[in-house]
Symmetry: C2
Subunit: 438 residues, 2 copies
Amino acid sequence: MTELRTLKVALLGCGNVGAQVARILIEDADTLAARTGARLQLSGIAVRNVNAKRDVDLPQELFTTDADTLVKDADLVIELMGGIEPARTLIISALRNGACVVTGNKALLAQDGPTLYEEADKAGVQLSYEAAVAGAIPILRPIRDSLAGDRITRVLGIVNGTTNFILDQMDSTGAQFADALAEAQRLGYAEADPTADVEGHDAAAKAAILASLSFHTRFALENVHCEGITSVSAADIAAAKDAGFVIKLLAIAEKLTDADGAEGVSVRVHPTLLPREHPLAAVRGAFNAVFVEAENAGELMFYGQGAGGTPTASAVLGDLVSAARRLVLGGPGRTETTTGHVPALPIDAATTSYYIGLDVADQPGVLARIAQLFAEHGVSIEIMRQTIHRDSESNVESAELRIVTHRASEAALAATVEAVKGLDVINSVTSVLRVEGV
Amino acid sequence: MTELRTLKVALLGCGNVGAQVARILIEDADTLAARTGARLQLSGIAVRNVNAKRDVDLPQELFTTDADTLVKDADLVIELMGGIEPARTLIISALRNGACVVTGNKALLAQDGPTLYEEADKAGVQLSYEAAVAGAIPILRPIRDSLAGDRITRVLGIVNGTTNFILDQMDSTGAQFADALAEAQRLGYAEADPTADVEGHDAAAKAAILASLSFHTRFALENVHCEGITSVSAADIAAAKDAGFVIKLLAIAEKLTDADGAEGVSVRVHPTLLPREHPLAAVRGAFNAVFVEAENAGELMFYGQGAGGTPTASAVLGDLVSAARRLVLGGPGRTETTTGHVPALPIDAATTSYYIGLDVADQPGVLARIAQLFAEHGVSIEIMRQTIHRDSESNVESAELRIVTHRASEAALAATVEAVKGLDVINSVTSVLRVEGV
């Protein structure tokens, strides 16, 4: 082992994930050297406050506030600071210096990925970011390399553990959103300000990254239609359950072909009904999973822990060892191709099935009028089910109508729902949710 | 695209998978060139009979019986003939000529993998074999690359679709093994001679490959303890179901540490009970899945189609594109490391939980005597449940005892079962099955 070359590793950021990465680099140095063919020497950890308390005991002399100098002297740079700046400037500086960069910064990649990929290409070095999507789950490398000879047609991902935990709580206990969120916060699955998670922003950044790799085309955050889970009610969950569905927040990227044969990709995040027997339906708690459909491979699913310091550190280390092996062997790595050139489609161009819950007047002919209205909008109904409730005290009857449609365009479905709202026999539209996996 | 270099691809074998690989190479030539940076030109297909009927229409001039000449002139060789010879000699010849080789030949890899890996290392070229385990599922690359910075502790795989289909049929319909096998044969999921599948030989070859990559040590078929599913009865399945379990044929590779701290790996294939809520329990029909536990990443699962021409071709093409990218960029690829050096352990050294079904005399003190005997052998009982049956005609009572043990060594469990058989209150031992996932 004495002849092994040493590669200097600069770590930027020492939070939840960074502290575990540093620990593993130190504790498993011999194993990593054996697997890499080079010693990976942690040359320093750039932080804002060198005296802050950390999750892990690390040698004090590693810490520095001078990220610039640390980066200039590194063969490999791990960026785990998060946020846009100074992460962006430091990554670009590292790439221009010829260092390979490993990052988990999904917000930066979704916002400014193309700039970073170009800088990496120009410098002929690797930029890898497995940790940015679905934590420990190896998903980006399989999409990029294992499926390189196939054509991905659709990706459905549960890529945000916080919202999956909340929806799973609501599903299993009947809790309302606010109570399930409070429970998630109590258990550390949701942050004090849960906006980025519950509004779907975190999942949207991951959707942009997944779509870009899957369709060999660069998609940005602005191409992603995003709806969160704050309006999902306990009643929605109960009705879905009753109909054999579970509600999940899905990141979806799918290739669509219009009537003229032109191709495009719809990238979106929204609460979605899935049949209970769908493999994604069994993904419980804070776990993540990505379901991939490819022309030749068929259906694939990748499942595991989507967050947490140690699991995410595993993904960072996997990227680091790959980049280091590359440096040992010489030559750059082609990390992704962007020769697909398919356009991003607006949400209106997506096709999906809808679940629609209606509170309707209990009178003859209501079903027929609603069915007629769907037909006029070109939306085909798959299931229509009416339940009559009688209030035992007032003896007043109310009727609940649940409709699952066949796949239709978002535009046609939205127009149908608008038209339904205008019918005098409709008391209220209680829920409108998209359905996948049927 | 005019300046692209051309890489010659020789295909050996044109069965189920080979024909699809040839089709994709021809149909998707432009896409593959864009993703690879070189044109992948199918230079010929070596077969035994050039006039045989194929699944796919392919240009007749591609076929040849002269595999040797085809291999000598190729940059990339795809071996899908199966069997040991002439596949082995052709692969070695290709590697020595400096060609990268992609193969799906699990039998050859399990029997003679080390020789092939050494030839590839010596020649500085890639030997890749994603298609050899779990068909379309990207599992070898994630283990080799994505988890390169982690330590895998255990792998549980449903890696044989035929046996999973049969066990799933038995579970869902209550059928006996023979009837479920006949149904699998009728539907094309099992071959006329199903020995390699139902006796676990196919799964054992895959277990050896998975263990080798997971533990960075070369394990051969002779290191794998193998039991098939022919002795699994409808009664076993029903009893397991009743207790909340499902029976799966698992390929297992796990690291064990003995009392002195010495490490070893147990590699085995056998019918196994899994709790119904375990992610692998939901793998139905002929699907495959591999569940991986790693120190940092935690639990991961990879799910998809484990067989079939087109899905398996996707895995072959993924390997081919990666190897071709490598050739375009220059430099060899480090495909796996074997620096782990952990010994293969015999089945006796494995620890597992057991499910034991007993037909016992219905008399006082039986439970106590059996429990005492388990305790004497150092095996701790987790669940013990007795059911009394009374035959309504004869009015004779019989008692059925079901025991689930805590984890103990295979040796202690086997000795316990032997001792139980010797008790005079035991009419018969109705089933002995291993349990995982509890």
